[in-house]
Amino acid sequence: MLTFALRRAILGLLVLATVAVLVFVAFRFVPGDIVNRQLEEAGAVTPALLAEKRAQLGLDEPLPVQFYNWISGVAAGDLGKSLWSGRMVSDQIGAALAPTLQLSVLAILIGGILGIGAGVAAALWRGTPVDMVLRVASTVFLAVPQLWLGLLTLTALAAIGYFIPLPYRGFTAAPLLNLQQVVFPAAVLALGVAAALSRLTRSAMLEVVGADFIRAAHARGVSPSGVYLRHGLKNALIPVLTLLGTQFGNLLSGTVIIERIFNIPGLGNLLFESVANRDYPVIQAAVLTYGLITILVNLAVDLSYGLVDPRIREARA
């Protein structure tokens, strides 16, 4: 198990390194380099200023040297300085990470419980109105853009005269205020997750429920809830776990929009602001951070298979 985890972690690091190379290369493909564009927008392009700025940022060095400088900084946790605010990029990323993680973890928890619950219910009451309603709801919520759902939520809240208190406060600083600010955006994100999960849980459950060992469990006199939850759901969980992992990626995409709508100063908002300001070091670092989160989530999902299925655990040992 440990060697397996270690091997996956190293593979993950390699993927992250590839992401870093691609992100770095992508910036060099931009027509006109970063400094040129920045100065052009400020309306003051002089050759001397260009050269000075370039030297300051190390852009006058050959490409491999530039890459080495950047990547060795990244490896040491030094992500450079923001071109816009002059703050350390690592500080900005660190500050933005907490709200995004809180939001996504809350959303995946709510969405997971809702989605798996709805899927099990739809499978158990297959063909009944409950099943129909749940299936229609999941199809609709898969199609509703979170962008719109978030704005509709704000519209509805405004209509009943409720306005989410601002500015954003962290959970440790003001727990109650923080929950008021986070619960609506998390719920919006959770609905998308739940919609995708319930469909898959339903079909996975239906496949398992027809199996012989379920009939055997019934025959042994196991209570219906025991049969469906302990024997049924546990065996249907592998594909659901896989989807939960891929859903996390979609969830992160969603947070960019939702943080913007609900004024949460997370990673998505940071990415958005750095894109608006063409603050390239911050964009680079934010993209890399998203990559890191996804890799960690995939690693966690990979390891959780072993927890659910003893056969996988033994095969890896």
Binding site: V15, L252, R260, G291
Partner: protein, 292 residues
């Protein structure tokens, strides 16, 4: 003489297959409804300039932030533009971007996937590492990154959205090719001396087509949603083009006072994505060989 006969025959066969797929779609009530709504949406988008009663850019300063009424069915925005006309033109842009994204993704993703799966070796190795890395980034973040690099324009939005969808296509097409490669007709073609490109084009490509079509139709909805998201964030379709995402972004300033600025563009967006998803689902059921 014989060649023309042959091509006519293939043509007839192909036609009957398209018909069979269409019949399959219409056989299901959900498929039929989705198809009808989709056709309606496409017609609205196609003939938007004829249907819309106002110029989507015309600013009527005497009718600012009007609630929906008989004159302006969907109301007007903060500078007096007719929301219905803007929604119709916005749908046109959405569908155009979606269609282009699907076409580019299928073409580029398909070709790269075929090459990766067919040739294997170091080409496959390099392609797979890049695909893996791109796949690590959440799709909207990858699109946002590329759109930010390229700058806002309709062309760049199409590139940015397609780039985020291509990795998935490459992976699926590659795995399909790996399956096909094991069949006897592939070795037969090789033994008969067919060139690799001929095998790819005449044997591999047609066999991965059903899978590609299903994935393509499911990508359509995703593409439209991503375009809206990018435009909402200000790196998508540049104003004053009436993109649905841009409209939603402008509407956020009047959330408590003019809900119609949020409701109608979002509703159109949702309906488009919903019917495209439903069509994709039905198409999958019809084209999936296991269901035939």
């Amino acid at each position: 003489m014989s060649t023309t006969n042959l091509s006519e025959e293939t043509l007839a066969r192909r036609e009957s297959r398209t018909l069979a797929v269409l019949r399959g779609i219409m056989h299901e009530p959900v498929g039929l409804i989705a198809l009808l709504v989709l056709v309606a949406v496409i017609l609205l988008a196609l003939f938007a300039p004829l249907i819309a009663q106002y110029d989507p850019l015309f600013q009527d300063r005497r009718a600012v932030l009007r609630a929906p009424d008989v004159v302006h069915w969907f109301g007007t925005d903060d500078i007096g533009r007719d929301v219905l006309s803007r929604v119709l033109h916005g749908t046109r842009i959405s569908l155009f971007v979606g269609l282009m994204v699907v076409a580019i993704t299928m073409l580029v993703g398909g070709i790269i996937g075929l090459i990766s799966g067919f040739f294997g070796g170091w080409i496959d190795m390099v392609i797979q590492r890049v695909v893996e890395a791109l796949d690590t980034l959440p799709s909207l973040i990858l699109s946002l990154f590329i759109a930010a690099l390229l700058g806002p324009s309709v062309r760049n939005v199409i590139i940015a959205v397609a780039m985020a969808q291509i990795p998935r296509f490459v992976r699926v097409v590659r795995s399909e090719v790996l399956k096909i490669r094991a069949y006897d007709f592939m070795s037969a073609a090789r033994v008969l001396g067919a060139s690799p490109w001929r095998i790819i084009l005449t044997h591999c490509a047609p066999n991965v087509m059903p899978t590609m079509l299903v994935m393509g139709s499911l990508t359509f909805g995703v593409a439209i949603m991503t375009e809206a998201a990018l435009s909402f964030l200000g790196v998508g379709t540049p104003p004053p083009n009436p993109s649905l995402g841009t409209m939603l972004s402008q509407g956020t300033r009047f959330i408590g006072t003019a809900p119609w600025l949020i409701v109608f563009p979002g509703l159109m967006l949702t309906i488009s994505v919903l019917v495209l998803n439903l069509m994709g689902d039905v198409l999958r059921d019809v084209l999936d060989p296991r269901n035939r």
